[in-house]
């Protein structure tokens, strides 16, 4: 095997090297866990609504095993209200296992 002469490597500015390597960092470096966005302050909102709607809300929530508050927030998000993922975390206490 003949030794090949070392090719002259192009000299690139440091900032250029950093920016060119950015996609590689995204691919190979262990992802830093981004902190979840803070959950907005929760308040007790009282709105009047037909009892039938309230009942239906509770039934559907129970069918899915989530709280009525969470279901309502999902529906409100669908309607375009500013509900974040963090707001959707169901903080209702889960029933104790045995």
């Amino acid at each position: 095997m003949g030794k090949r002469p070392m090719p002259a490597l192009p000299d690139i500015a440091d900032e250029e090297i950093k920016s060119r390597l950015e996609p590689l960092a995204e691919r190979v470096l262990p992802k830093r866990q981004a902190a979840p966005p803070p959950r907005a302050k929760v308040v007790n909102a009282e709105f009047l609504m037909p009892e039938t709607v309230k009942t239906e809300l509770k039934v559907r929530a129970a069918q899915r095993g989530i709280s009525a508050s969470k279901l309502l927030l999902e529906i409100l998000r669908e309607a375009g209200l500013p509900v974040t993922d963090a707001d959707l975390i169901d903080h209702r206490k889960l029933p104790r296992k045995s």
């Binding site: 030794k3 002469p5 070392m6 090719p7 002259a8 490597l9 192009p10 000299d11 690139i12 440091d14 090297i17 950093k18 060119r20 390597l21 996609p23 590689l24 960092a25 691919r27 190979v28 470096l29 262990p30």
Partner: protein, 231 residues
């Protein structure tokens, strides 16, 4: 103007011998490049022919150089943020720059690979190390691609048994089967290497006629050849 060669020692796995290799190479290269008899560093920056950049937060290399004060070798610490400026400053001063990295994929490793002329990937003769060497070599290949630079990567087998030649042959084939380019030299398992980074004494100083010293000499020949440096 001839550019200063930059050698990075990288592996996604820890404890494979990066620091041991960097330390041996630094001392032997400095001995050859400075051609001076006196063995200890005088602290005069004009005499630093080899610059070691220790980008491992454990600072093993930096501490070894501080203890041993080998002639012509200067070591400094760098983080991912300071690595590239440190390399730029080092290339302006020295005849060769060696970068020792932490044994994991991190930002400093990417920058070092993007800047190096040659990346040496140490690996022990095990199947697990074949997989790790492939990961590291893929990072180098991608860094070369993205920076548009022709960065060479070579795997060196480390801590290979002195006597069991057949084991070594078998494991060389395992690396070659995965298309990993191997260096001819290996770093043999020896007590002299084990103690080195703790004592700061390299085998070429300790026992110049011993097996470890001749291992380092052959290794330095090969590395300087790969870097295009006159031997």
């Amino acid at each position: 103007m001839k550019s200063t060669p930059i050698l990075a020692l990288a592996s996604t796995k820890g404890g494979v011998g990066k620091t041991t290799l960097t330390f041996c190479l630094a001392i032997e290269m400095a001995r050859r490049l400075s051609g001076n008899q006196d063995n200890r560093d005088s602290g005069n920056p004009d005499e630093w022919v080899v610059e070691c950049i220790d980008a491992d937060p454990n600072r093993t290399l930096y501490e070894a150089v501080r203890k041993g004060r080998p002639k012509g070798v200067h070591a400094e610490i760098a983080t991912a943020e300071t690595l590239l400026p440190a390399v730029a400053a080092a290339t302006a001063r020295a005849k060769v720059v060696l970068i020792d990295l932490e044994g994991t994929a991190n930002q400093a490793m990417l920058y070092a690979c993007g800047k190096a002329s040659l990346v040496i990937i140490p690996a022990q003769p095990s199947l697990f190390d074949v997989v790790e060497a492939m990961k590291t070599s893929a990072v180098v290949a991608q860094a070369a691609d993205l920076t548009g630079r022709d960065i060479e990567a070579k795997v060196i087998l480390t801590r290979t048994p002195v006597l069991r030649q057949r084991v070594a042959e078998h494991s060389r084939r395992q690396f070659e089967a995965k298309g990993l380019p191997l260096m001819r030299c290996e770093l043999v398992e020896r007590a002299a290497f084990k103690m080195m980074t703790y004592t700061g004494q390299s085998p070429s100083e300790d026992d110049p006629e011993g097996g470890a010293a001749s291992n380092v000499a052959a290794l330095t020949d090969e590395v300087m050849g790969l870097l295009g440096m006159p031997i």
